[in-house]
């Protein structure tokens, strides 16, 4: 690469993006109050902030998905108004969304050229939508890009057959093919294993060297420290500071982000409080079409946290489904033994499970956990409307429910403490706290926490982790399913790795590290295995 790719003629660095005073409100909710930052060309810039701090909105404004109420955007020194993603693409801005936007039934090459198709010269007179594609010409161009940036993907493979890591590469090549100079990556590492993340970062550095400007939006501090050059920290709709990565550490970032220092939370590994198991599962087939090896067995005792690590889609959702709706799930899946609190519960429905002591923090709170257009009190009753404390005959006792909600909000520090506020007016972290308050208010014997900290900020995560350890000390059994290895390692008494619809490896908490777990998650072997029932 040319050494002066990122500087202008005189040698001073060029500013690729400058945002000045961006503001955006949704209804009465201010998402961006005053967002201003500068990004130098050819650097990797982190956008860090708690959930609801306004970072996603700012990125959407840059990409033309959201129109700012106020403020200006300057790209390469020229003031631009970006009204749509088409505008953004035209001036060289590309975005990879957290959920990839690839057409799964088509090949990699077709996905890459989609929207920027090359057509044959002889087809000039044919109307645009009917022009035949010149895939060979496109292929040559894509191969050139792949060679230049040291990115490889199988061009003829269907997206369906690719792992998420490769899909992400496809997304990036797609942007490069569209001639993007500024790449916005929204939570790019959420679905990757630790090893994939390292590869991914290497590639990002190569891209930056080649003069691309990269914005990474995330709330994972450590990754930002690994890969970025500068970081803008968002808090409450403003950029409160832009710092150079070389002069700051993880504590400093967290302090800037939430306005105070974080505590470190660790499991003390005291062991279960009783030897009578809460949950016994033997040979449960989780896969829709299981092979002989794909069965899952686990035992869980009161007062312990079982961490389940694994890449998403390896059977975790099915395990939760089995526990939540045993009767419905087990109709299509075989199991040898399925006991909850010593009782065979194979034919139980959800309300019975809940009544005898199952709490559940769902993976996707908006879809599975909450009624967003209802108040906190009404949400508190959801799933507990058969609780004898909450009902009399066919009627609900809203007074009691309201009282329980208020208590729950106090215990879990839900803010604002307004039981009648609609759920959509709470921030993501507070919505999650409310779910936790709901699920633990009746002191369940088993709590399933499925991605409990997904998409919530460090302050809320800290509180939630403390809460989980507290509950464990009180004798609750907890299944913690997460793709955040740090979380699993910090909290679990035992760790099971789920891979391909089975528990492939088990570790004792505190006796393994991230590398080992990462390897086990991706299906590779390591020999420091600890037997599950020790």
């Amino acid at each position: 690469m040319k050494p002066n790719a990122n500087t202008d003629a005189i040698g001073s660095p060029q500013i690729a993006i400058e945002a000045v005073g961006l503001a955006k409100a949704y209804g009465t909710c201010i998402s961006n109050a005053d967002v201003s930052f500068k990004v130098l060309k050819g650097t990797i810039h982190g956008i860090l902030g708690e959930n609801g701090a306004g970072k996603s909105t700012a990125m959407k404004i840059l990409y033309g998905l959201v129109k700012p109420d106020l403020g200006e955007i300057w790209i390469d020194g020229i003031k631009r108004s970006i009204h749509s993603p088409q505008d953004a693409k035209a001036i060289g801005i590309g975005m990879v969304h957290q959920h990839f936007m690839l057409s799964e039934a088509q090949t990699v090459l077709e996905n890459i050229v989609l929207g920027n198709e090359t057509t044959y010269i002889w087809a000039r007179t044919i109307p645009e939508p009917l022009k035949p594609l010149n895939l060979d010409a496109s292929r040559a161009a894509v191969l050139k890009i792949m060679a230049e940036h040291n990115l490889t993907v199988p061009l003829e493979a269907k997206i369906d057959d690719l792992s998420v890591g490769v899909r992400q590469r496809v997304e990036i090549i797609k942007l490069l093919y569209a001639d993007a100079k500024i790449l916005i990556l929204d939570e790019p590492t959420a679905v990757l294993t630790p090893q994939e993340i390292q590869d991914f970062f290497k590639q990002l550095r190569i891209l930056a060297k080649a003069g691309k400007t990269i914005l990474i939006v995330t709330h994972k501090l450590r990754e930002l420290l690994d890969v970025t050059d500068t970081i803008s920290i968002f808090r409450a709709g403003r950029v409160i500071e832009t710092v150079s990565t070389s002069v700051i550490d993880s504590d400093g970032l967290a302090t800037l982000m939430i306005g105070r220092r974080l505590e470190t939370i660790r499991n003390d590994h005291k062991g279960p409080t009783s030897s009578k198991p809460v949950l016994t599962i033997e040979d449960l087939h989780l896969s829709p079409a299981p092979t002989a090896q794909q069965s899952c067995s686990l035992t869980l005792f009161p007062g312990e946290i079982l961490g389940i690590a694994g890449i998403e889609g390896n059977g975790q959702a099915e395990l939760v489904e089995a526990l939540r709706h045993p009767r419905e799930f087990l109709r299509g899946h075989a199991v040898k033994r399925f006991e909850f609190l010593g009782k065979d519960v194979r034919h139980w429905k959800t309300p019975e499970m809940v009544a005898s002591g199952l709490g559940c923090i769902p993976a996707d709170r908006h879809h599975e956990g909450l009624l967003l257009d209802r108040s906190a009190v009404q949400n508190f009753a959801l799933g507990h409307e058969n609780n004898p404390k909450f009902r009399s005959g066919p009627f609900l006792r809203w007074k009691q429910i309201r009282a329980a909600t208020a208590t729950g909000m106090d215990i879990c520090q839900v803010n604002p403490r307004l039981p009648d506020l609609l759920l959509k007016d709470f921030s993501g972290g507070n919505q999650q706290k409310l779910i936790i308050a709901r699920e633990i208010h009746d002191k369940p014997r088993l709590l399933i926490a499925f991605h409990p900290t997904r998409g919530i900020d460090v302050g809320a995560i800290e509180l939630l982790h403390k809460k989980l350890l507290e509950l464990r000390a009180e004798g609750m059994a907890i299944i913690l399913i997460s793709s955040e290895l740090e979380e699993i390692l910090a909290l679990s008494d035992r760790i099971a790795v789920m891979e391909n619809y089975r528990i492939s490896r088990t570790f004792l908490g505190g006796r393994c590290d991230e590398t080992e777990l990462g390897l086990a998650m991706s299906g590779s072997h390591s020999d420091r295995e600890v037997p599950f029932e020790s």
Binding site: A25, D34, D69, P362, H367, N386
Partner: protein
């Protein structure tokens, strides 16, 4: 509460804008908007008689509006209301004809028969939808046809009034008919009127206080979360359509006991379909539906008078005006939101950020 007030304010704004747009249209055809408004107001409530007729139209609309709204609560479009109320009316009439002569027992029997028949017709739709996965709109429309044919056949082959040229059944005992208010002069407004606000109140209480109502609302708000919480969506949908059928059946009771005293083939001018508009304009809120039903009834009554009182304008024009109002009401969500947001941002800018 605040959100509800806001929604109400929005509806009101939309209504006013709708009236303004209608005024422009009226000017375009060379009439005075003031004159037209006068005709409408006079027609809808100018005298006790006129207001009585407005109430007479409003009562069935309240019930069908509620019936549709319960379906929509569970995300189902209950277009079968028309069939359910037809079945309900026939059942009420038959019960009245064969029932005891004692007025209270006869009325009770008629009431129960209408409720049961409407409910069963609704339950049939609910069963097809929830258990057999039929699309509720297609099944609902087909059941409407069947209800129409079946009721006509039964009414005209077995219970036809031999003295009448019209397609109608024999009359129920005169004593069993519910007396009219004398206040409204000759307008056919009887004591059955109270069924409407009472039904709205019951529906409101059902959502607000009962477990079943809460479960139903949860399904409407977020089906995925409701399922996760252990609420069976199919069961809720079945009951939503059944309850809707019961409410629709009551329209039949009102028609037979409060008005004609017999089952007249094709008596409904499309109450079931107007119920859809009433439910939507009332925002699925029982109290809102009461208001919307009154509005629609007033517009309907007013439009009848438009025919007589003006040279140019016919009832069709009144329908255009109705359509304009509905259109504005249904997109009222768009109206003040963007303004509010702009003001809010500027305010924050001026005051600086407080956190």
């Amino acid at each position: 509460m605040k959100a509800k007030l806001l929604a109400f304010r929005r509806s009101l704004t939309a209504l006013i804008i709708g009236f303004l747009a209608s005024a422009v249209l009226i000017l375009c055809v060379g009439e005075s908007p003031r004159h037209i408004l006068q005709i409408f107001l006079n027609g809808a409530g100018g005298s006790a008689y006129d207001f009585g007729l407005t109430l007479y139209y409003a009562v069935p609309l309240v019930l069908t509006g509620l019936a549709v709204s319960i379906g929509l609560k569970t995300r189902l479009f209950n277009i079968g209301v028309e069939g359910q109320l037809t079945v309900g009316a026939l059942a009420a009439a038959l019960a009245g004809i064969v029932g005891p002569d004692s007025a209270p027992w006869n009325r009770l029997l008629g009431f129960g028969a209408a409720l049961l028949a409407g409910g069963l017709w609704g339950a049939l739709l609910g069963y097809l939808r929830a258990r057999r996965r039929a699309h509720e709109v297609v099944a609902g429309i087909m059941l409407n046809f069947i209800a129409y044919g079946l009721t006509s056949w039964i009414a005209l082959n077995f219970f036809k009034n031999p003295e009448s040229q019209n397609p109608e059944t024999m009359s129920i005992p005169t004593g069993a008919r519910i007396p009219s208010f004398t206040f409204f002069q000759s307008a056919p407004v009887s004591w059955v009127l109270i069924i409407a606000p009472f039904a709205a109140l019951c529906v409101w209480a059902y959502y607000r206080w009962t477990r079943a109502g809460f479960a139903m609302e949860a399904v409407g708000s977020n089906p995925e979360a409701a399922r996760y919480a252990g609420i069976s969506i199919a069961t809720q949908q079945f009951w939503a359509l059944t309850l809707g059928g019961m409410l629709s059946g009551l329209v039949g009771f009102i028609e037979v006991y409060g008005n004609t005293g017999k089952f007249v083939v094709g008596f409904s001018p499309g109450y079931g379909f107007m119920g859809v508009a009433v439910a939507l304009v009332g925002r699925l809120n029982p109290l809102g539906i009461l208001g919307a039903a009154l509005l629609f009834a007033g517009l309907h009554k007013g439009s009848l008078d438009l025919d007589f009182e003006t040279e140019w304008l016919t009832r069709d024009f009144a329908q255009i005006l109705q359509a304009i109002l509905i259109l504005f009401m249904s997109c009222s969500n768009l109206i003040p939101a963007s303004w509010q947001l702009r003001i809010e941002v500027l305010k924050r800018r001026l005051h600086g950020n407080r956190d």
